[in-house]
């Protein structure tokens, strides 16, 4: 019996060693340890032995079984690993092929710039206001201190509709509408579409502006300078040089043109800034008392500033677009780049 067991063990261990697949190992297990397996049969035969021999042989059988099971487990593990390794090897793909993209949409550059500017001013406590594009002469001009027949009206070539209606030439009428609706303190930013009858590489008959208005007590021209410096630094990068120079708008006084150091050449002078080192991006000033009179504010006790800028101009500078017409041709090859 002992010899029989030893022989069985050796044959089995040898078979395990030589086996090459999980199926073969399974077969060995069934042949040996299954219900009709050889070792199982031997276990059943224990009853026939002398009572004194039973524990000794039983122990021996157990140890042979343990040894075989350990070997089987090890062989199965190793066969499994080989199997995975084989699978991995057979499953290689060409990772150089392009991936599947969810289609990427894009916002129009004008929307992008408006969103960015509005978010900068939101951080400074400016709310967004809106107004009609088809506007009354009174809001677009008169209340902003452009009397009829005033030469300042020549600064803005106007599309007329009928009677006293026109397409607004700037977003400034939103100032008037806001001030008529509410009392100070006011802090608004008003993005919108505006129109002028002019069309070439740098002028479009339709374009966009953002207007800003702050009215409170004791607001100074220095504050205007401060707010615009913060704004231009956030939009074009910290340390962007800013300069204000005297100008004229009927609805602000003192008025200023705001230049930033040329973002193309850094102020050294190039084609874009016409060698001046500066780029004009904004018009601004302290709200003119005449405007306050039109909205029935008391100019003696409040003060404020207003500013306005062209979105396309900023978009062109930010993205290096040389022809404004590109913005409205809506060529998908252009739009997809944003």
């Amino acid at each position: 019996m002992r010899e029989q067991l030893e022989k069985l063990k050796n044959i089995t261990l040898q078979a395990i060693k030589e086996s090459s697949s999980l199926e073969e190992l399974q077969e060995i297990r069934i042949n040996l340890l299954g219900r009709k397996g050889e070792l199982t049969a031997l276990m059943k035969g224990l009853g026939l032995l002398e009572p004194a021999e039973r524990p000794i042989v039983g122990q021996l059988v157990n140890s042979v079984r343990d040894e075989i099971e350990t070997a089987l487990a090890a062989a199965t593990e190793s066969a499994n690993q080989k199997l995975i390794a084989r699978r991995l090897q057979s499953e290689q793909i060409d990772t150089s092929l392009p991936g599947r993209h969810p289609l990427k949409g894009t916002k129009h550059p004008v929307s992008l710039v408006i969103e960015e500017i509005c978010s900068i001013f939101a951080g400074l406590g400016f709310a967004v206001a809106e107004g009609p594009e088809i506007e009354h002469d009174w809001y677009n001009f008169e209340a902003l201190n452009f009397p009829p027949e005033h030469p300042a009206r020549d600064m803005q070539d106007t599309f007329f509709v009928e009677k006293s209606l026109l397409l607004r030439t700037h977003t400034s009428p939103v100032q008037i509408r806001t001030m008529l609706k509410q009392k100070p303190p006011i802090r608004i930013i008003a993005p919108g579409t505006v129109y002028r009858c002019d069309s070439d590489a740098t002028h479009s008959p339709m374009f966009h502006q953002i207007e800003g208005l702050m009215v409170d007590t004791k607001v100074t021209f220095g504050d205007l300078k401060g707010i615009l410096t913060v704004f231009t630094n956030q939009l074009f990068g910290q340390k962007t040089g800013v300069r204000l120079r005297p100008s004229y708008f009927p609805f602000t006084e003192p008025s200023a043109e705001v230049d930033i150091a040329c973002v193309i050449c850094g102020g050294k002078g190039c084609r874009v800034c016409k060698n001046s080192g500066w780029l004009e991006i904004l018009g601004a000033g302290m709200v003119d008392p005449e405007v306050y009179r039109h909205v029935q504010y008391d100019a003696e006790n409040i003060s404020g500033f207003a500013f306005g800028m062209g979105i396309e101009r900023i978009a062109m500078l930010k993205y290096g677009i040389s022809d404004m017409r590109l913005l409205f041709e809506n060529d998908i090859r252009f739009l997809r780049q944003f």
Partner: protein, 802 residues
Amino acid sequence: MIVTYNWLKEFVNFSETPEELAELLTMLGLEVEGMEKFGADMDDVVVAVVEEKQQHPNADKLSVCRVNNGKEILNVVCGAQNFKQGDTVALAQVGAELPGNFKIKKSKIRGEESSGMLCSEKELGLADESSGIVVLAKDIAPLGTPVFEALALKDTIFEIGLTPNRSDCLSAIGIARDIAAKLNLKLTPPDIAIIEGADEVSSSISVTIESPDICPRYAARYISGCRIAPSPEWLVKRLNAIGIRSINNVVDITNLVMMELGQPLHAFDCEHLSGSRILVRTAKEGESFTTLDNQQRTLTSTDLVICDAERPVALAGIMGGLNSEIEKTTTSILLESAFFKPAAIRKTAKRLGLHTESSHRFERGVDIDGVIRAIDRAASLIVALAGGVLAKGCVDIYPGKSDRVAISFRPEKANELIGIELDNDNIIEILTRLECKVLPSINGAFLVTPPHYRIDIEREIDLIEEIARLNGYDKIPATMPIAKVISDRPTKHQQIEIQLRELLVNSGMAEIINFSFTAPEAAGKLLLSEDDQRRTTIKLANPLIDEQSVMRTSLLPGLLETVARNLNFRSLDLKLFEMRRIYLPVEGEDMPREPLWIAGAITGSRDGGGWSRPNEAVDFFDVKGIVETVLDTFKIGGVSWDTDLLEPYYHPGKACRIMAGRECIGSVGEIHPIVQKNFEIEKTVYCFELDFEKLVKLAKSKTTITAPSRFPDSSRDIAMLIPEELQVSKVIESIKAVKAKEIEQIQIFDVYRGKGVPEGQKSVAVHIRYRSFERTLTEEEISELHKKIITNLTDKLKVTLR
């Protein structure tokens, strides 16, 4: 306004370089928009002396010269005859570039070496014609000095973009005045030396103003016996430098004085003035008049004319008449210097489309108190350059005389508004430099009288601006305002607009922006019926082109044009959207409505094709899916897709209206083949339109959340044949009608026609997923529920199970 560096320097002795001056002017609010250096590129033409002149051995008409430029002696071959040995000449050295791209190179002329060229005035661009070379004064400058420098011809021309308020700077003196004020330098005005004859002016001419409201001042002088001739060189050159063509001495003087002092002047040939008198009146309605440019103008009663005893002789403040212009034969002159009201001049100039240097100034306002100085300056120049006798005295009719009102000015208000701290002395000094008269007033205020030429200064705020401007904007510290906290967040409207744009972009769509105006034919191209509201548009009175003459009432034409344009460039897979206003007239109201709409268009392949995807074309359900995502995002439920009352621009079998209850909030569908053709599109396009205002109204921001069930699910499929005309949505409704809360999800997973499916029917397969919130469902429970659904379908909808 064009002015030159040398000219300004005649009035103010500044030491700034042209570049520094440009910067200074710009920072004064007189923006230098252009700068051109005259003679700067001519430094290689230098003063030289001819030390030897000999006949060219091989050419009769040439000479060979030894020329000294101060550094070396050069051999130069010359063809001119008008000079001799020892003359000082203008030598263009090798490397010089003369006008007309003429480069001077070292060369051999008929065998003789020539290292340069002796120049004529024409070759230097100083004259149109010249005979022979320039012979300079002997000791004009050291040898080697650039000739343009030696002749004081170097100059810088500034082009200044003036704002409409600064009419005082429409003159060289005005700009010089600002420079003097800024630099605190003395201003030297031009010389006026009047030498009058014995005869009184009143014995020769007379002036009557019939319209003092438009012409509050008219001055005239009379000069007899003068001789019209070409202007002297200095005058021609000065006018040329600022872009004015020389005509004759008298006309040139009136132009020069206008550019110098800002007062437009006019000279009449007195012999052509009937009665030697001037009458200023408004024109008669329909009166005809021929201006100097030989154009016949028809006038109206708001135009102001200058007349003689019989007829108009000038269109006041705009242009003189052909009938009284200065000619070669003119000997007696009536010189006009007047003030006309800006609005009236502007109206006439605008109506006639006649914009002149004169009208430009009158429209912006000239200095009514500078009228006499200008006429005197011009008269003195005429006598000096054209001879003749100036009659004694000046006719000066001035019915509109009024004194300048002093402005009450508070220094602390200026400091407060600007954000600076100037003391009173500083402020008074600035105002004084600007030629304001400053007197103390009550409560620390001043009474300030601005100079007569600054017609733009009328209010305290105007003075405050002057303080800020002259003191320098760069000296104002940048501060942050101290302000109250305002609680404000974007409105629902604004929030949804931002979210929606984001959503469409994330659906793979590119945002486009088209012009708000369109062609009047757009409505027709969309096949809109004759009574469609969208045919009523807002029209522009002065469109640039017909294609941009009406405000759009639909986003679709622009969208379809964009599709067509992109397809032309072979961009074939398009997903575009536009979110913009449309413009709808409102009956009985002045102001139109400007609602925001969203429209989208898709065409081409679904996901751009490529190696890893079936290259399938988009269809109706792609565009519907986009709309469904929008509705889902804003939690707009209970939407039905109606196929009646369709928009005419859609394919009648592949479109629907999007209904929220009874309200139509938009539409979706395949574009009608005829519309497609109208927009020259050759591919199938699917579009949607949504009314943003309605979307905002229906959008819900609150959501009720149900905790997910923790029990297992179980699924059953139903495959059925249904009649072609039966909408699948009816099948879904029928399933839902069972109202079992155990139905977790119903999904249509196949719709099929063709092989194995009888004609007129379609095969539909539905997947139903059951799950309870309370317990694990048993097989029996599910089967019973499923059976109920099937019975409902077969009994009520007459579907056949497969």
